[in-house]
């Protein structure tokens, strides 16, 4: 279980998170929605300890990751996988090395076996035959999927997806939706996804949380989101430029 308690974060004068509270239950997929620039990626980075908050805590099964250092942090992070919004593949390494890096660093598995796992993870995200390519040779959507394969390579308990379906064609996007659902159902993985893709959010989520002006203003099941009267949430999921949220 992940508990985010009263999280505050500013960059200079730019107040991004202003008291975020959110609890993510074990074995569920929680999707975070909200406008561009509202702080969704920043929130994900807090959860895995890449960004330190100004105030507040994040409890990972009771352990506050914002206070963890060195060995403890390494130990916690090994239970996580993260897909970055911009993929963040290591451009000096091949696809195969990218996906296998965590395994090579943290396990004593023989090389044969690592290659087999890498092939398997790449197959799960619909990629084959690119093991020896460098990231620069891949399309945006392929990079995203390599990033996804890297995030799941260590079979983590928690996966953070920053826009997993952005930049994918609709069919591949849906395949990724199914992958996320399968990982939850078969492996009981707890996931937090950030997405602008409302269709995908409805499909993969147990719960959807909307972030607005630095706070979580709504949490509910996809059904509850569809039926809510909250004008801000309605405007967002219906994608209307006019309403309480100002488009420009």
């Amino acid at each position: 279980m992940i508990e985010i308690v009263d999280l505050h974060k500013s960059f200079g004068d730019n107040k991004v998170l202003d008291g975020v509270n959110l609890t993510i239950s074990k074995g569920e997929t929680t999707t975070i929605i909200g406008r561009s620039g509202v702080g969704k990626s920043v929130l994900l980075k807090h959860i895995i300890g890449l960004v330190k908050p100004d105030e507040g805590k994040i409890l990972i099964d009771g352990e506050d990751i914002t206070l963890c250092k060195n060995e403890k942090l390494v130990e916690l992070r090994q239970r996580f996988g993260m897909l970055f919004q911009g993929s963040a593949l290591f451009d000096s390494m091949t696809v195969q090395e990218n996906v296998g890096l965590g395994l090579r660093e943290h396990t004593k598995l023989p090389e044969e076996e690592i290659r087999e796992i890498v092939r398997e993870k790449l197959r799960l995200v619909g990629l084959s035959g690119v093991e020896n390519s460098k990231p620069a040779e891949l399309s945006g959507g392929m990079k995203k999927r390599v990033g996804l394969a890297r995030a799941i390579a260590m079979s983590p308990e928690y996966i953070l997806y920053d826009e997993p379906t952005t930049g994918l064609d609709p069919i591949m996007a849906d395949a990724i939706n199914y992958l996320i659902i399968r990982m939850k159902n078969e492996l009981n993985i707890t996931s937090i996804a950030v997405t602008h893709d409302i269709v995908s959010a409805y499909k993969i989520s147990n719960r959807i949380a909307m972030i607005y002006e630095g706070k979580i203003i709504f949490v509910g099941t996809p059904e509850e989101v569809k039926n809510t009267d909250d004008p801000i949430v309605r405007q967002f999921v219906e994608g209307r430029a006019t309403g309480i949220i100002k488009a420009v």
Binding site: K45, I48, G49, L50, L73, V74, E75, R77, Q78, F80, G81, M82, F84, G86, A88, L89, F90, D91, S92, L101, G102, E105, H106, R150, M154
Partner: protein, 258 residues
């Protein structure tokens, strides 16, 4: 106007102090990560090839001319005042103590310091360093220590080559253009040759190697703001490490020879 100037100077001074603190912390982290050096040693050997082997052609080229010009210059200054049998002495000392280490370091800082800052800076702005951390891999262990170790080991080796080639260049010029025989030149070289001078030069090289790689990594990690930021970091890495090399050269010289 006056206030603006004061606050400008103030903010620069704070930035400067913050950088000193930042570099100190980086050095401390490098130190703490040294025990794990041999895990992933291939990263260090890769950097040794990049910093050492791949710099060699450039260093040899620069050193030939350094030696040649110091021979010509020394001969010009000796003319009618100092006997030419001391030509080898003067050139040898200058090369081994000063020219070899400093010029090698400046050339390497342009080639390697810039490359390190650009590579790590790009990794920083494209979130690759964040990605390493999410894989529970310490960027200090994975990126910085290999470069640092390669820097402090390869610089002395490069300087050895540089010394050798520069003296060779000086010898050739002495024989061909100054009309000093090879025998005279070499006996002058041997006359006051102290092994301690050579070691002083190599010790400097080690320090310079540390400066180049530490500053390169520090600037890389500090990069923000896309391609433009990478450009700024790269320039800074070269400028700052060049200045520090000269300052360190003076400090070491005044300790060893002062």
């Amino acid at each position: 106007m006056g206030m603006r100037l004061v606050s400008y100077i103030g903010s620069k001074a704070i930035g400067f102090l913050a950088d000193i603190g930042g570099v100190a912390i980086l050095l401390k982290e490098i130190l703490f990560n040294l025990p794990r050096l041999f895990k992933n040693f291939h990263l260090t050997t890769e950097q040794m090839v990049f910093i050492g082997v791949n710099s060699l052609p450039l260093i040899i080229f620069v050193s030939i001319f350094t030696g040649a010009v110091s021979s010509v210059q020394a001969a010009y200054q000796f003319h009618n005042y100092v006997p030419m049998r001391y030509l080898g002495t003067a050139v040898g000392k200058a090369v081994v103590i000063e020219l070899g280490p400093v010029l090698t370091a400046l050339v390497v800082s342009g080639r390697v310091g810039a490359a390190i800052a650009a590579e790590l800076g790009t990794m920083k702005v494209t979130e690759q360093i964040d990605a390493l951390e999410t894989l529970a891999i310490d960027p200090i262990h994975y990126l910085v220590v290999p470069r640092f170790i390669a820097g402090i080991t390869m610089l002395p080796i490069l300087v050895l080559f540089s010394d050798l080639v520069a003296i060779l260049g000086a010898l050739v010029v002495a024989v061909v253009f100054v009309d000093v025989s090879a025998h005279t030149f070499l006996s002058g070289l041997k006359m006051f040759f102290h092994l301690s001078d050579l070691f002083a030069g190599l010790f400097k090289a080690l320090i310079f190697g540390g400066i180049i790689t530490t500053i390169g990594c520090y600037q890389g990690f500090k990069t923000t703001g896309g391609a433009e930021g990478v450009g700024t970091s790269t320039t800074r890495a070269v400028v700052i490490s060049s200045v520090l090399i000269l300052v360190a050269d003076y400090v070491i010289a005044s300790f060893l020879f002062g």
